[in-house]
Symmetry: C3
Subunit: 346 residues, 3 copies
């Protein structure tokens, strides 16, 4: 498919600067643009590439100040990143859609399968499991007994969903993620060894949740581990038993949340963050990458860093002096010397 700048500008409600007849058939990053591709510029860090790119069309923000000559056609839009997302969506919708139930899938007779689903080869659907309309179950997926997969949800290859878990509508779960493995619960049996606490709860993913690849989300000991509507998790994330994550909270890769901790809505967690168990985090809290939280945060929108974490700005200030500690020590030694000299003079 080829689209002209004119067609794209119409679709995006944008304004053209340059040749409206130039056409593109693919997308590219602005720094790697080639003829025949469309790129976008949203992050000011990349502004310099606007004057160098070989992309034929570049989407820019309405109020962006073009400082030099450009070789491409510009389309000014309200939000270049959002507009690109809309274009990419259009592009995705052209792809062939996976459909039908493959003959080498195994579906237990007691399972309920909705309309217009895709169930790929080597997928397994357990006893009394429910796969709702328009869901897509890729190869090697395991849906345990009594588990539910909601309307229009996409489960990528190799995902394992243990028994009794509930996945809402329009969720996306990427390959290799495990939902509903046992929580890490053991009671000391003697001074040395442990007795396993059976984990009889489940995991609930509400609607519109996206989970990355190779995450693990443990089932609750009792009750439910709950991931609320609109939550987005990156790859290799650990969510322990009985955790609750509020609506639209997002977490970067390799972060881990310990048992029974409760996060508010619209929080943002950087990568490799760790939270201990049994604490609660207010709405809108932001936690810098690699931080460790060991206590509850009650203040909405607080930004923290460190291990253990405290106020972001304070952490940054302390870290400046951490870097200067040898110099600080030298200052102290110098003062010591001066005081001794003063003393001797008396």
């Amino acid at each position: 498919m080829e689209f002209t700048a004119k067609i794209i500008a119409q679709f995006l409600n944008g304004v053209i600067e340059g040749n409206p007849d130039v056409s593109v058939n693919n997308v590219s990053g602005i720094e790697k643009g080639k003829e025949g591709t469309i790129a976008f510029l949203a992050n000011p860090k990349y502004a310099k590439y606007l004057y160098l790119t070989k992309a034929s069309i570049v989407l820019i923000n309405k109020d962006f100040n073009v400082e030099k000559k450009v070789n491409c056609t510009l389309i000014r839009v309200k939000d270049a990143y959002q507009s690109l997302a809309s274009l990419l969506e259009l592009y995705e919708q052209q792809k062939p859609v996976k459909k039908g139930i493959h003959e080498v899938a195994v579906i237990e007779k007691s399972a309920t399968i909705g309309k217009d689903v895709y169930i790929g080869p080597f997928a397994y659907i357990g006893e009394n499991a429910v796969v709702k309309d328009n869901a897509k179950i890729y190869p090697h997926v395991y849906i345990g007994d009594q588990a539910t997969v909601g309307n229009g949800t996409v489960i990528y290859p190799g995902v394992k969903i243990y028994y009794d878990c509930w996945i809402g509508a329009r969720c996306i779960i990427h390959a290799g993620t495990i939902i509903g493995s046992d929580g890490f619960g053991f009671a000391p049996k003697s001074s040395k060894d442990y007795k396993k606490i059976p984990q009889v709860g489940n995991v609930i993913l509400e609607d519109d949740v996206e989970i990355g690849a190779n995450c693990s989300i443990d089932r609750a000991t009792m009750g439910s581990t709950i991931i609320r509507k609109g939550v987005k998790l990156d790859n290799l994330i650990q969510i322990a038993h009985n955790v609750e994550i509020g609506e639209n909270t997002v977490m970067a890769a390799q972060t881990g949340i310990s048992g029974s901790t409760k996060l508010g809505s619209e929080c943002m967690l950087g990568g490799q963050v760790g939270l201990i168990g049994h604490i609660s985090i207010a709405d809108g809290v932001k936690i810098a990458a690699q931080s460790g939280l060991s206590s509850t945060i009650k203040e909405t929108g607080k930004i923290v860093q460190g291990s253990p974490a405290f106020g972001f700005t304070d952490y940054r200030k302390s870290y400046v002096y951490f870097r200067k500690l040898p110099a600080l020590k030298a200052e102290i030694d110098a003062l010591k010397k001066e005081i001794n000299e003063l003393k001797e003079k008396e």
Copy 2:
């Protein structure tokens, strides 16, 4: 199934306070209790919920001091958490048990399969592999050539066990975990690139080991990577080649142990801890979450924190002053000023 408080108290050797005839059919967390459920109270942090819970029955410790009116029936037991574990076990035992060898499993002819095993659809059992009595092999599990799965061991969906590895009796391995992948061993071939060192050893899991979801345990270069009896690993943990982990040691999620490091027995590692290679850690050592160990610990039971880690209490003290570094710098500057004033006065 419904059970009355009376029946449960008898089973647990507990003492009833309240209505002995109230009945329950499910378990719940105390803070989310509903009518018809049984909850427990062990962590004092949750004591306030005892007076608010809607659970019908709550297990409490024998000596717990009830300070206000409660609406539920109490059962006093020696250890509320342990008693709950016993109840949950009873509850688990009611579940239907997976049995039989599914027709779409692939089992090589040279493999040896014990009595009363479960082998699910799409499981693969390799050449000369051994699956002992009462083992459960869930769908999409791969058991490599010459690998052994012990008596009563449960291997959850999608686990991959490479050739020659040995899994003991009564182990539990959660979905997505990889046992026996190659150790990360390369020798410089030139100043730039690397030559792979073949990894010809294996992994041994002794009896009663539990491993969480999506872990990776590498095979030894030569000899064995060894996980001793009773070890419990949480999710997303990395165990490198030739590591040895002592009996009943437990590790929280996302911790990583580098090659050839040896941990003692009954150690406790927090989440996201990292240990460098070729060190050894004494029995009973505790390592705080997110710490990094770069040297051997010889002292039994030592508690450490930091990256690199040192004594836990010392770390906490240093961290208090880290947080106050800007104030410390201000103090130094004030002293400097005072000394200069003293000097000028002379």
Copy 3:
């Protein structure tokens, strides 16, 4: 198979000290050597075991100074570790080789399969996918539509490769690793929730790349996430969308690289390292374990540590004083007191 010291010395161009007729049939670590095994000594930390080992033969470096009586036969070689690697390779080559296409693999008709490949049971090869000559596809592997697996590449059980991704020649990908999952890209839809940015790019692995178990490598939003020739990644590593990793760079386990970051060639990253997005790292940079990088490094070969990271030596110095902070505070307090005394005397 049994080999005598004489045969092995000939194969390795080594010099025998001791009995040339002693024979071995297995390899072992020097500290755990048994009769009939060959071990090696390269790391000086293990030198003490040379005098204790029960291994029948030990490979040592040409210039190693034997200080006490040894019970084994020594073979002196140019590089004991490299020589061992050569021996292990020989040992590996004796193993039976997996061959043929299993009858319960599913291969779409439009796929292209090369000569002498292995495709195991329950493997899936998608529409228009290409598996080149001598490639090995283990059980439960998923090769998405239009994906390519290069000549002689080994894909271990359960690996999932999404559509359009390209794997070069002689690569090794360990079990559970996910290649080509969606990048973590969302645009704010309102003040609260997010709109998914479709990820239409792919992942390219150049030749001779090895990736450990349970890693996740996200596809590019547009263009390609690129892992260059000879890169070696350990287990549980996260590579985000549009990252580029230079030739022969190596990373230890649990490290994560955020979106659009570019690493040079021959870099070495310790375990649990985190890099933020949109930065670039010069060739040959070394990053200590658990460090966090938040800005570009332009200096070739720089060594850094800390979170945020700075010069390795400076970090170590600062950390020495971090450990002494309580003592530093005491020194400051003592100075304060002395100054006050000086003041009072005036």
